[in-house]
Amino acid sequence: MKLLRRTAAAFLIAVFIAALFAGVLVPVPYAKQFRDSPNAMPSRIHLLGTDELGRDLFSRLLYGSRISLLLAPAASLLATIIAALVGGVAGYAGGWLERIALGGTDLAMSLPWLFLLLAARAVLPLNLSPAASLLITFALLGFFGWAASARVICAGARGLRDSDFVLQAKACGCSSRRVLLQQVLPNLRPALFAQFLISIPVFILTEANLGILGLGVSEPLPSWGGLLRGLENWSAVQANPARLAPLLLLLVVVSCFQLVLRQEDFAP
């Protein structure tokens, strides 16, 4: 089991590094169209072949990994910060503030988030620049993904609120704000870190969902979701099975995340 976890961790690190250095590893820009060789088979020039527009699939996969693997943690960070604010304050303060905050998280969790994301994307103009679509997609993920984490953080903060050391700190004359920031928050750090890591694969998958529907990062920027859209063309996949590479990579990366993350590691 230990070996498996290590292998998974090593694989994730390798993918991250490959994605980071995509510019060095692939000589071809992800948007360059080789007009005379669309739907090409894998070759020495195009490792995974090309798509119907003649764009190099390997290059698109690596650049797509960069976007998905860097922005999913960013979205996760945003969601965790919101969760820490809402859950931490609610759990620590207790009373009506906690009831309102928990009601809010219940509401947020019961919302059909996929439709909400669709609606939010639909409100935005269609001719959004690729960079803007990228930022908006992941900001939306962050803003909609905090509720479950907030509940966990809230429960943790509630337990700390009644602890002896909070009582001792108050008996020493520390203000509520300082007790929250200096005494409670350091104890929530392991839980926050766990929530941050657990959210990353969730956001990778959510982005893929949106991408398949064409509402994620817009062309010509590649992302895993956008690349999965290429699988709609089944005859092209049959002709070139290497086109399944994005799906395979997504599956393996998300599985590796699940292997590496173990709940007991985050126990404070």
Binding site: V166, L167, Q168, C172, S175, N187
Partner: protein, 300 residues
Amino acid sequence: MTRTTSLLSLCLSADYPDRPNVLRTLALEMYSGEILGLIGQSGSGKSTLALAILRLLHLHKGNQRGEIWFQGRNLMGVSEREMRSVRGRELGLVLQSPLSALNPALRIGTQLEEAWRAHVKGSDDAARKAILETLLSVSLPAERSFLRRYSSQLSVGQAQRVIIAMAILHRPSLLIADEPTSALDTITQSEILRLFAQLSRELRMGILYISHDLLSVAALCHRIAILHAGQILECAPPAQIFGAPQHVYTQKLVAALPRGALLDSDGDKVSSVVASHEVEESVKPSVESSIPDQIPSIVR
């Protein structure tokens, strides 16, 4: 000990939502520099009183009424902001379980610094100097390496000393110790008792020493108050509590002490020894005290 200046004079009632009348117009008076032992069985309202004096009972969802006259003002009448400047600076609290009273995620130094910064805005050097001095006064190593430790790296006795250091950092005039030794083994217990006697002597600090153990506080305290069902039944010097208890409950309490403990090695009643007790000499560091048969050596 001069009994002229009153340090604390209170009359309190307290309730919890599920338990009414935990304190029933409890009246208590303490003098400057006095060590008052508050004895009561569990559920008698000891800890409730400790929190109520600091006006922190709301943290346990409790509700308190009455008056707390402390150094010339009624604490029940002051604002929360003013109360916060009293907590830790003029009123110190030591809790029962030292390991849970220390924050597991913070270094000892950070926690002491937090307690210091709650009342003093000053340089890091001033804070460190005050902290190291206080560590020395509770017989802890005044070293950087010690301040970098976490509570899990301390023994229970050390942890309790750190809590005491936190509580006396600002030299409060009243220290409330809520069963500070009940989580400790007998040797550590006698060391901590000795520390309290020493602090009271050196800092002229009043100590409200809360315990369920009549014997362990007999030698330390100038007076002992017996708390039962939210009221003080009797408050008298140890000699009278042991020698001529007035209230029926106190008589039962004294009678319930182990027989051996009441007899000196000569067969005299402990009360005669206690009558001439001196706090300065009272709590001797005695290794024998770990042997149950010789509990009276603490009393001596």
